[in-house]
Subunit: 264 residues, 5 copies
């Protein structure tokens, strides 16, 4: 962990990542409800919203769309990722080197670690290479810390999520992206374990505005530093409105009611 508050990934020490690697991880099915959402340009457009500190995409999407948005959007290059056509023990291909990410304009990088997978050790060593290369380029490092694999009974247990946040700290991530552990107190424990590494909640499947904002609010109240959100933004017909509300909750520390009102 190093101090990243002055990096483009942060605004007032908080983070709102708009994640859009679902085309690789989940495939076309994630775009079904809102067909226009298959177009990465629509997500880059949404990412110009002030609330968004960075957009997280895979290399190919970055190459194709970032050049048109480099003035208005901050690029987090997600370095690894894999299709779900493959169904083995959780693992992820490193699709982009840090040097290449830097060359195409990334100002931070992301990396998934599946703690508990039979590939954990290999992934941790790939993370090491990425993290040390990122340090040379002064790029903040976000770990998607998702325990998963045959040894894990329940990957949404609070203790597991707290452990995942700790792994991010111990291995040198600057931000830990973890699942919501179900309650504010569990989130406080997770934040405690991460120490100075910023914890952000992973947005997950699409829910109602209120439900979603309440979990984000709990994260912030628990000391979390923000959100990495995908489907809950770009699967909505109007991504702008929910981003308005998120801006209120995360950066203005408004209540959920205030946020919903402001976003009308």
């Amino acid at each position: 962990m190093i101090d990243i508050d002055d990096s483009p990934l942060c605004r007032d020490g908080k983070v709102l990542i708009l994640a859009y690697d679902h085309g690789l991880e989940h495939g076309p099915v994630d775009f079904e409800g809102v067909p226009g959402s298959a177009d990465p340009g629509r997500t880059f457009e949404a990412a110009t919203h002030d609330a968004v500190t960075s957009v997280a995409v895979q290399k190919g999407v970055a190459e194709a769309f970032y050049p048109s948005y480099e003035e208005d959007v901050d690029l987090l290059l997600k370095l690894n990722g894999t299709s779900n056509l493959w169904m083995g023990e959780p693992d992820s291909a490193v699709n982009c080197t840090v040097d290449y990410a830097y060359d195409i304009g990334a100002s931070s990088v992301g990396f998934t670690l599946y703690g508990g997978s039979n590939h954990e050790i290999e992934m941790a060593e790939e993370f090491r290479d990425a993290q040390e290369a990122a340090r040379e380029r002064d790029l903040p490092v976000v770990m998607w810390s998702y325990p998963r694999g045959q040894g894990l009974k329940n990957d949404t247990e609070p203790d597991t999520i707290a452990y995942a946040a700790r792994q991010a700290l111990e291995l040198g991530a600057d931000v830990a992206k973890v699942k919501y552990p179900g309650s504010k107190s569990a989130m406080e424990q997770t934040v405690r374990m991460a120490g100075p590494t910023k914890v952000v909640m992973s947005g997950g499947s699409k829910t109602t505005d209120r439900e979603f904002l309440e979990s984000v609010k709990a994260v912030i109240d628990a000391g979390g530093k923000g959100l990495a959100v995908g489907r809950n933004v770009w699967q909505r017909e109007n991504p702008h409105r929910i981003l308005d509300a998120l801006e209120q909750v995360i950066f203005a520390e408004s209540t959920v009611d205030e946020a919903l009102a402001a976003a009308e």
Copy 2:
């Protein structure tokens, strides 16, 4: 994805790759109907046809034949490939480095990814190395994106093919070579998923002229950018005639009837 319209692989933004790596992938059996087709020189000769934007071959064939055709033919070096003597979970050997491909005159490179194979992750990482090396040389990258392997029930399902096209975009290919998903509307979905990555249809087994041209026409009408064709050209006694017709369909946007007439 980067802009490749000015590269030799494209003509008016369209692509017609004459693929000839069957000697490695399938062996002598593919040359049985037209014995002369075993001679790579015959395919290079066909590739001098204006309709062909590039010929796709393995390293050894390129070394032996490209020097005699470098004025008239554009070389796409297929970087990986494997014999079917081997019968394990789909995988492919990287037989040529990008630097070597460049040195012997390639102006673009091709790479197979078997999404869904137990080797998908390893192949994706090999693709990364090839793609980034190709970027250094300004060589367009074509992905043969073919989901295949024990986890896949049906590799010709439209959703699978659309996913394959998306993988090409996400991982940074400039052209996605995919199977024909069976209908124009399925092809439209595939093209949508690929975003700005050009989608070209894989020619497949030899069929009648009309059947073949109708599927190519559907690809073009669906927004596809062309074709990578092998057996449907060089397994014909007269490759020239079908190339005349393909030129009409792909570049002149003629109807199939017009194309067949023009190629009499």
Copy 3:
């Protein structure tokens, strides 16, 4: 083994490492009794005690906390380590390169070897790389030498622990961190096997002050050179008091009674 008596890891030829990588190796459960112990700052604070020659942490904790303590604490970077979310045959990810450890201020490095594991050979080769890189930087090398794995019936047998100490000598470690083999005479045998490589006892689970100090005293009397201790220090409400006592036993060669008295 090289002479490390003049390195910051030693004081009068003795070693007292305060180990704090439990957040990675064991997870949040180790911090339960004393919640404040989850904060690495508390352990760095304890490490300012004169008794402590070095604090041993993983890369991320070092990056975050060492800069505030570099005047008062000596950093031993633990190069490998793995979560216990993963449950395969013992292995450990190399999370930090020696060069990076050096760059962030480490004055020595640590490395776990699981002798007897199916990964022993791979780990030994990773150790080789680390050891030779450490030699270039003049960083002493501590081996956590812990036989473990399916081939081992009993990893706390005196013969196994003596063998572990010998491995440290043979492979080029300067300090061997081993489990307490149960008696002073067994420890003497372990020390004999290690030759000039310094043997330090691994602290293990928390026990009473007297029990703990008596095992440390036996180690010193047997020719051991000190201790690497974690939970027996930072799981106490007052780490300072037990460090006072350890200083007496290890460096002043006091009796346990004297040490307990001095630490009142």
Copy 4:
């Protein structure tokens, strides 16, 4: 494939390799009939015969014997090879780098590929490295192309041998060393598949002079470019005589009767 007619491996476009790596591949048993044959010096002596274009040996034999023969013998360094003490799925260790082969005087290199083995992909990638390194040194590349492994029912089937020859062409070998497919017409098919890559027959087990020469003659008549022979030369009491005859068949294009007469 590149033009190697001017290289020392060829004489009038033909090739006669005296292969002597049996000590590694088969062990002492191959030397039993003619004990003197265990001495590599005897084979180097035979290789001074004008008929022999190159002697093919492993690194250690080359280091020990080539210096005494560098004026009179041309060295083909066989880069990979394995003992038959090991009995797994066909594979071969790369025992020598191309750079080292070059440094000790090799003017060409040899490499075994077991198409169809579960190690085919790994071997093909090792071949790639060797082939590209050989190109940098202008060393012709001979592929020992031997389909073998659990997926293969019959590795002496004509189609399999033709496929093996094609692999050599596609992967960039200049010479394909294959088994004799049993008839002149099958050999013609093999030669056709190899295109401009020269096909040479692998000598195989020792037979009578006439039988042996007749198969060589069939190879030449079928368009093959020569022979890589081991046991049929050095397992004879007088290697010179059979080399006289081979020179007639291969280079003078004599009949078998003429060759046998000339070699009396």
Copy 5:
């Protein structure tokens, strides 16, 4: 094989290696009879005997003890080795690079190959790297050539030992360390197979002076070039006396009776 007669490993073309890596390979059990033998200094002291051409140790022992003996002892760095805590298919970790061995003063290197093991291919490739690096430093290479593994019924069969010696020649070792094949005539066959590579006998378990010297004498009479001996020297109370006798047998070509008399 290169000429090593002028290297410190040889004296009059003969070799007597004092091997002392048993602490790693076998563990403390090997030191039980003569507890002082656990101290590497005792073996280095023995190695100052004129009969000993080199002492063979692992990296860590070399680092610790060689500096005090560099005037009087010649160092053979054993590059690989593994504990017997691990019980898988025979394999060995490469614990030291050639460059590091050179830097700490080695004038020759040793490497174990387990022919017939499922790891044979990997070990042969590691040997290649070591051998070629050693050539750059002009360090003679000794192969511990020990067929072993699931495919081998009997690793002390004369044919297997002869094959092992041949592997050493073929792969480029300068000295082959093999087991005694049981008789002088079997040793002659082994020596014949090794060609110019020097064959030395592996000392094996401790026996009586006469038995031991008689096997050494048979090796010399069979054309072997000496001995690599460990336990038969340092497991004796007085290593000096047996070294006196070995000097007689190996370098003075005395009879066993003469040697025993001279060593009274």
